[in-house]
């Protein structure tokens, strides 16, 4: 049952549950892991009877596998996990990419590698999200920085998973997942449902060409759907030895995401036109948000989606500023792409404020770094 529109004071992970329900989740499989467990607990209470199925499985591999299976049954499906569980899911994430299965994976990031810091925040899985499974593929990932965005971007993660038939990610972290704050559930929410084979509906998923995103043949509708993770032709015939079929398939898997960057990418800009811009996302942007709000010499580009890499907004601010500071809660994962695009766009100086250990960079740490750079 959907929660009534209105204002609520709740936890980030609970807002993710509300977002999933609002988006129409019908199947969730999870395994207990800190700091994402509240999402499983919340959906265990919500997905009962007519509302859907909650399943606690034997491990995270089983969770993502069941979620993919449920998606072929036509259900909007999701799992939530953190570092070690996310690592276990990687093979099946590649399967979802190859089989073009819409699934939502929430990763409430904690400090790694290995068991690392189960209760502390991190952005260490940014590159793993993009490159975690073997082979070439593209994914869609959103990075919330508030309780409200845990709701809003969970809905978007579902929307884009459905629209492009891809595994899509909500890359949260222990800070945002456990943060408490105000959530406004609006009256109207944009919900996208997958383009279904043999069904015509008025939905934005149908706007994309069938050549780029094939209509989804739900099981049990007489389509004689054949789904495989092996290289396959358009009629799903297995053709692992055919290099042309492989090239066409894998190229399309990437292009359907990369060619639609403008549709997918979301960002916020504070103080556009500032000579110094901070580029950040998720919990790492909290300190910079405060600095930009107080100091009109400093602007902020806050990325709400990080994959596919938002080249256009980064290039645009880089072409207008003298220096960029990238803030991340890792040793510099998105920094490489930001620097590449910013230098190409004519910005001369791109530096990194990297902070690991569990706490987001504070406003004073951001100011200190900006001072070192000669910005303030």
């Amino acid at each position: 049952m959907k929660t009534q529109p209105g204002e609520y004071f709740i936890q980030g992970n609970e807002a993710c549950v509300e977002g999933a329900i609002a988006a129409g989740v019908r199947f969730f499989a999870g395994y207990p892991i800190t700091p994402s467990t509240e999402i499983a607990e919340g959906l265990a209470r919500r997905l009962t009877g007519d509302d859907g199925v909650f399943l606690q499985m034997e491990d995270e591999i089983a969770c993502i596998s069941a979620v993919i299976g449920a998606s072929w049954g036509g259900a909007k499906s999701m799992t939530a996990t953190s570092g070690p569980g996310f690592s276990l899911m990687q093979e099946a994430i590649g399967y979802a990419a190859m089989s073009e299965t819409p699934v939502v994976i929430v990763n409430v990031m904690r400090g790694g590698p290995s068991t690392g810091q189960p209760t502390r925040a991190s952005q260490g899985d940014v590159m793993q999200t993009k490159w975690g499974s073997h082979g070439d593929y593209q994914v869609i990932a959103f990075a919330p920085a508030s309780v409200q965005e845990m709701f809003d971007l969970t809905v978007e993660t579902f929307n884009y998973a459905e629209k492009y038939r891809v595994p899509a990610f909500l890359l949260s972290d222990a800070e945002v997942g456990h943060m408490r704050g105000l959530l406004t559930i609006p009256d109207k929410i944009r919900i996208v449902n997958r383009k279904e084979k043999g069904v015509k509906r008025s939905d934005e998923a149908y706007d994309i060409s069938d050549e780029l995103v094939h209509p989804f043949p739900v099981f049990g509708k007489g389509h004689k759907t054949m789904i495989t993770g092996m290289t396959h032709a358009e009629d799903s015939r297995i053709e692992p030895e055919d290099s042309k079929i492989h090239q066409e398939l894998v190229t399309r898997l990437s292009e359907k995401v990369l060619m639609n960057r403008k549709d997918i990418n979301k960002w916020d800009v504070m103080c556009p036109g500032s000579k110094t811009m901070v580029v950040s996302y998720g919990a790492a942007s909290l300190g910079a948000m405060e600095v930009a709000a107080q100091d009109d010499r400093i602007g902020l580009l806050r990325l709400k989606s990080i994959w596919p890499f938002p080249e256009e907004p980064v290039a645009e601010i880089a072409s207008q500023c003298d220096r960029i500071l990238v803030c991340e809660m890792n040793l510099g994962q998105l920094y490489g792409d930001i620097k590449r695009v910013a230098l190409e766009a004519g910005c001369r100086k791109v530096e990194l404020l990297s902070k690991i250990g569990g706490d987001p960079p504070t406003p004073s740490e951001v100011r200190h770094k900006l001072h070192e750079m000669g910005a303030i």
Binding site: D50, E58, S65, A66, V67, A70, A75
Partner: protein, 269 residues
């Protein structure tokens, strides 16, 4: 329904070697399915990775060919999203009992409505004949060049202990009994598991002085012991030790409440 209404002739030739036991199992499965008058449009087939896991791709129905070992986990999600579908998993000894062992035991425990057909050829066939978790002790494989030092799993006994509602094991030699067990399994509420000890002449027989598939079938016949007879004779140690005996028969047939009955699932897809 004719055989080639059931199987996709357009996907022939298949990948199976001459003499492979998969053909026997496919034939028995088709007969059981057809005799029961089941609908291909109301059935989904799920496979993992390996020779036997390819079978779903030859069936004229919805098929999900998944990752190695995870077929039961994929099938679990599919079944719960579409409870009106009959879900059948085809898997092998390596796929089910080694890499997928966790999902196997938990699938039995969860007792969801599904039929799992495990074709146990005692070897990794597709990758060229490496020892599996059911390769008998002392037998040869490419990864046990001096004979297998380990002892095999008994998949049927594991399924019984883990809670499946129906468990049977036959070899490809007992086609009538096998067909009957597949029928029972397809009609069973809850988790139904049928293990078939099947010949792999190419990668198992050839390295163990039984390159001719008929040698393997004769050997299956000679070493099969009916479970009820073994019990009656108080034979203590009748495990799946191919060097000695293969216990065959129905291991359990019970009616524990299925997961669907327990949670009262409705269609969500």
């Amino acid at each position: 329904m004719e055989l080639f209404d059931f199987y996709r002739k357009d996907r022939w030739p298949h990948v199976f070697c001459p003499g492979c036991g998969n053909g026997t199992v496919m034939n028995c499965f088709y007969r059981a399915f057809n005799d029961l008058g089941l609908s291909l449009d109301r059935t989904a087939f799920v496979g993992g990775i390996g020779c036997s896991s390819r079978i779903p791709l030859y069936i004229n129905s919805d098929a999900l060919h998944t990752t190695h070992g995870r077929a039961i986990a994929f099938a679990t999600g599919l079944k719960l999203a579409s409870p009106e579908l009959k879900v059948v998993v085809f898997t092998g000894d390596g796929d089910l009992g080694a890499i997928g062992g966790n999902h196997f035991v938990n699938g039995c425990r969860r007792n969801l409505d599904m039929t799992v057909i495990c074709i146990n050829n005692n070897i990794y066939g597709m990758t060229g004949g490496q020892a599996s978790i059911t390769t008998p002790h002392d037998f040869m494989s490419t990864t046990t060049p001096t004979g297998n030092k380990e002892y095999p799993f008994d998949l049927a006994e594991i399924a019984v202990a883990a809670g499946a509602n129906y468990v049977a094991r036959w070899t490809t030699r007992q086609v009538h009994e096998l067909t009957k067990s597949i029928k029972t399994a397809l009609q069973k509420k809850g988790f139904a598991f049928v293990e078939i000890v099947a010949q792999c002449p190419t990668n198992f027989g050839r390295r163990n002085k039984m390159a001719d598939p008929t040698q393997l079938l004769d050997w299956f016949k000679e070493s099969s012991v009916r479970r009820d007879k073994a019990r009656a004779a108080a034979v203590d140690h009748v495990d799946l030790n191919l060097a000695g005996q293969i216990t065959v028969g129905e291991f359990v047939d019970r009616n524990r409440e299925s997961y669907e009955e327990l949670i009262g699932v409705v269609k969500h897809g």
